[in-house]
């Protein structure tokens, strides 16, 4: 079974890469972009288990390893 954890910087935390990309898009002439934030997506292939259990496990991984909650937040998505 598949799931993913999206890790993004907390709101208000500076995102230097996002800003550089926003600058790049401006140069490229892409208009209408008000803000860009870059995060990580961590995709998992898990052994078969009930969705509730998979979600709990991914949440736990997010807290313990995938995100540093001082500056990041995360979201779990299951297929």
């Amino acid at each position: 079974m598949r799931g993913r954890v999206l890790v993004t910087l907390r709101e208000g935390v500076l995102d230097p890469a996002g800003q550089a990309v926003q600058g790049g898009l401006r140069q490229l002439g892409f208009e209408g972009v008000q803000s860009v934030r870059i995060g990580k997506v961590i995709e998992f292939e898990l052994e078969a288990m009930p969705p509730e259990q998979a979600r709990a496990r991914l949440e736990d991984m997010g807290r313990k390893l995938l995100a540093n909650t001082v500056i990041e937040t995360f979201e779990v998505e299951l297929d």
Binding site: L9, G12, V13, L14, D15, P16, Q19, A20, G23, N68, T69, V70, I71
Partner: protein, 739 residues
């Protein structure tokens, strides 16, 4: 709109009862919310040095070559040819414990800014790191994060990391140390300073836009970690080296014009401390309109704007009429730029939000009248008893002892870490990490750009907290001596030091005693070696749950090398070369040694008394010998003693062996630590001259044997394969970190 200010709110801002009373007395009224924020950060330990100020005064800070001592963003020394070196070291211990990558990265970013604020182009970084026992997952995460963060920032901005030190000890389990050093070069007549001048002149803001980053980071650095610090979730700042690179180039470009009157980076406590310091140094007032500060986020209050610790920002006072020129340069580099205020003669820091005045504080209240404590000190009652004890070292074969020492995290090769640092960018690295006791970089031109020359700068960071905890006076002095000895190895003439004083809670009399003693010892050593202190930093409250770190007053020492083409590395070069041992190994002691720590005996004994005259003689002799190109290699004995120094000399690439016939009698002579002992290798034809030069200065020189290529280190009573040494040494850190 702002909540009312009272005693309770003041306490939450870190002000003590008496400090709050002082505020009320001096202001004659209750401060506003913004005023309280400003006062509390300016009076924090980090900004006010309230516990350390009176002790720092005892350090020597002057010499004819000192162009700028403590008091500016960094110290500056004359290095000849119209050039000057600007350097400083700073701690980022607390943020790095919470978010190691960003904490370490922003530590590097901050020290870099201190250097280019002075008008210097940064050309070399170093760092001094202390970690706890590396076995646990958390500590491994911290080591990996700190290494990656230091590299991530320095590599991106393109300043080579040329050296450093890393030690592990359980006292740092809950409080690691991340001390970052940067050195830059500038023309000696082009130093920029921070004193505001010119009433009516514009105050300009340049760099990143302000967000709500790390508000109250300065007070965080001044508080002991409690178990609730996880819950407090302070907002750690994120570093943006790309923006800093642009800021660096834009500032240096502007500095070539005649526009800047004063410049100050926004470090801890951001706009608050930069504006207050500029006003205080100029004996003037300053007015800041928060409404004009470029922002990244909406709805920020003046309180947040004044206290934000967003990185990569600078404040400048500019000459009237140059505003447009300044703006053009920063726009070209795609950076924020704005006039945010002006210099006044009011002697007040006035904060407005558009038309509305939201704070007005007398400058002297923030700086001169800031608390200045003579904290109680007490000499530990059991000190004499501990000094009289001898560490009990279990008996072991010399081979086994040597192999286990080489694999200790503190001694083993730090390649896993320093290979993550770009050490060769800027075309100046003559001796980088891992190949010598001190780093050597070629002296660039006045713009800091590479050029062909024989002159160079040598630099090192050192301190052994195990000595300091046993005897703070001797320990701190021995740290300065070790730094000098490291410069001696590359034939450099030391000129000055910077320091980073990492201690526990100053409100504990024993911690305060060790702080004061260490400063006395450091001062004595600096006076004797004629290396004044030109800059530095103090980091207190390095404790977790009441347990203090080993007192660690790290020093960074800088010297000049006249012939970079002759500087030796630490490794043996050619079979047949003669090995000389310089100094008096018999003075080495178990006290404070790696062996005593491995045996759990760290608390016992007293380190040796430094012999400054001998160190001076060594410096002088080595300078002569290296200048003439007589040395193939030189290495000093430090952690692990003489035996480890010899083993490390065998482990250069390609590894060589050695056959030594110089007899040692006690394990303590070759595994103990303390005295100035050097291991040199010299081509046979120069042995006579080298020996004469050193003996002439009263130093003992022992002809100990020769370099071989038979793959063994042989010494009476010790015979071991170099490949076994290599295995222990090269894999030690990866092993310890579980890689």
């Amino acid at each position: 709109m702002s909540p009312p200010v009272d005693r309770e709110v003041a306490r939450e801002h870190g002000l003590s009862e008496s400090e709050w009373q002082l505020v009320l007395d001096r202001m004659g009224r209750t401060p506003s919310w913004v005023e309280l924020g400003v006062i509390s950060v300016m009076w924090s330990e980090h900004c006010s040095y309230k516990s350390s100020r009176r002790h720092l005064k005892k350090l020597p800070t002057e010499a004819p070559w000192v162009l700028q001592g403590p008091g500016e963003n960094a110290g500056v020394i004359d290095v000849g040819e119209g050039l000057a070196a600007c350097f400083k070291m700073e701690s980022h211990n607390h943020p790095s414990f919470i978010e190691p990558y960003q904490g370490a990265a922003t530590g590097v970013g901050g020290i870099l800014r201190d250097i280019f604020t002075m008008g210097a182009r940064p050309i070399a970084n170093m760092n001094s790191l202390r970690f706890g026992r590396p076995e646990g997952a958390r500590m491994r995460f911290l080591v990996a994060g700190v290494a990656a963060g230091i590299g991530g920032y320095g590599n991106c901005i393109g300043v080579p990391t040329v050296g450093g030190e890393i030690a592990f000890d359980s006292s740092y389990d809950g409080n690691i140390l991340v001390n970052a050093f940067t050195l830059g070069v500038l023309g000696s007549d082009r130093i920029f300073r921070s004193a505001a001048a010119g009433v009516g002149s514009s105050v300009m803001y340049v760099g990143s836009k302000t967000g709500r980053d790390g508000i109250h980071g300065a007070t965080m650095a001044s508080e002991e970690f409690g178990a609730d610090s996880e819950a407090k979730r302070p907002r750690v700042q994120v570093g943006d080296p790309f923006t800093e690179k642009k800021l660096l180039e834009a500032c240096l470009e502007l500095m070539k014009k005649d526009a800047i009157v004063a410049i100050q980076d926004m470090g801890a406590a951001g706009l608050t401390s930069s504006s207050c310091e500029m006003a205080a140094k100029g004996g003037l007032g300053i007015e800041i309109d928060c409404g004009r500060v470029p922002r990244r986020e909406e709805g920020m209050t003046p309180y947040e704007v004044m206290l934000s610790e967003t990185q990569e920002r600078m404040l400048m006072v500019v000459r009237p009429g140059t505003e447009a020129e300044v703006e053009a340069i920063f726009r070209k580099w795609d950076l924020a730029v704005a006039v945010v205020g002006k210099v006044t003669d009011s002697q007040h820091v006035v904060v407005t939000d558009g038309e509305e005045v939201v704070g007005s504080i007398p400058v002297d209240l923030l700086v001169d009248a800031a608390p200045n404590y003579d904290r109680p000190r007490s000499r530990p009652v059991d000190l004499d008893e501990r000094w009289s004890q001898t560490p009990q070292i279990p008996s072991q074969s010399p081979e086994e002892r040597l192999l286990s020492l080489l694999a200790q995290p503190t001694i083993t090769s730090k390649r896993w870490v320093f290979e993550q640092y770009d050490s060769t960018v800027r075309n100046g690295t003559v001796l980088g990490p891992g190949v010598a006791d001190a780093a050597v970089v070629r002296l660039p031109d006045a713009d800091g750009q590479p050029r062909v020359t024989s002159r160079g700068l040598a630099m090192t960071v050192d301190m052994n907290g195990r000595f300091v905890v046993l005897d703070p006076w001797r320990g701190a002095a021995l740290g300065v001596v070790e730094a000098a000895r490291n410069l001696a190895c590359v034939g450099a003439r030391p000129l000055a030091i910077t320091d980073c004083l990492n201690f526990g809670n100053p409100e504990k009399p024993e911690v305060m005693w060790s702080f004061a003693e260490a400063l006395e010892g450091m001062g004595a050593a600096c006076r004797a070696l004629r290396t004044p202190v030109v800059s530095g930093n103090v980091s207190l409250y390095n404790e977790t749950e009441g347990r203090a770190i080993l007192p660690t007053p790290t020093v960074g020492m800088v010297g000049v090398v006249e012939h970079i083409e002759n500087v030796p590395g630490l490794g043996f070069r050619a079979p047949g070369d003669v090995v000389l041992v310089v100094g008096e190994p018999k003075k080495a002691r178990w006290a404070g040694s790696e062996c005593s720590s491995m045996a759990g005996q760290d608390g016992r004994g007293r380190p040796i008394e430094p012999d400054f005259a001998a160190t001076l003689a060594l410096l002088d002799g080595m300078e002569q010998i290296v200048a003439r190109g007589w040395l193939q290699s030189s290495h000093d004995a430090a952690e692990g003693g003489l035996a480890v120094a010899v083993a490390e000399a065998c482990l250069a690439e390609p590894a060589l062996g050695a056959e030594l016939d110089w007899p040692w009698t006690e394990d303590e002579m070759i595994f103990g630590e303390g005295p100035d002992v050097l291991v040199l290798s010299v081509a046979p034809e120069h042995v006579g001259s080298v020996t004469t030069e050193l003996e002439r200065r009263g130093l003992s020189v022992h002809r100990a044997g020769k370099v071989t290529n038979d793959g063994r280190l042989r010494w009476p009573g010790l015979d071991v394969e170099v490949s076994a040494l290599a295995k222990a040494f090269r894999g030690g850190l990866e092993e310890a970190l579980g890689h």
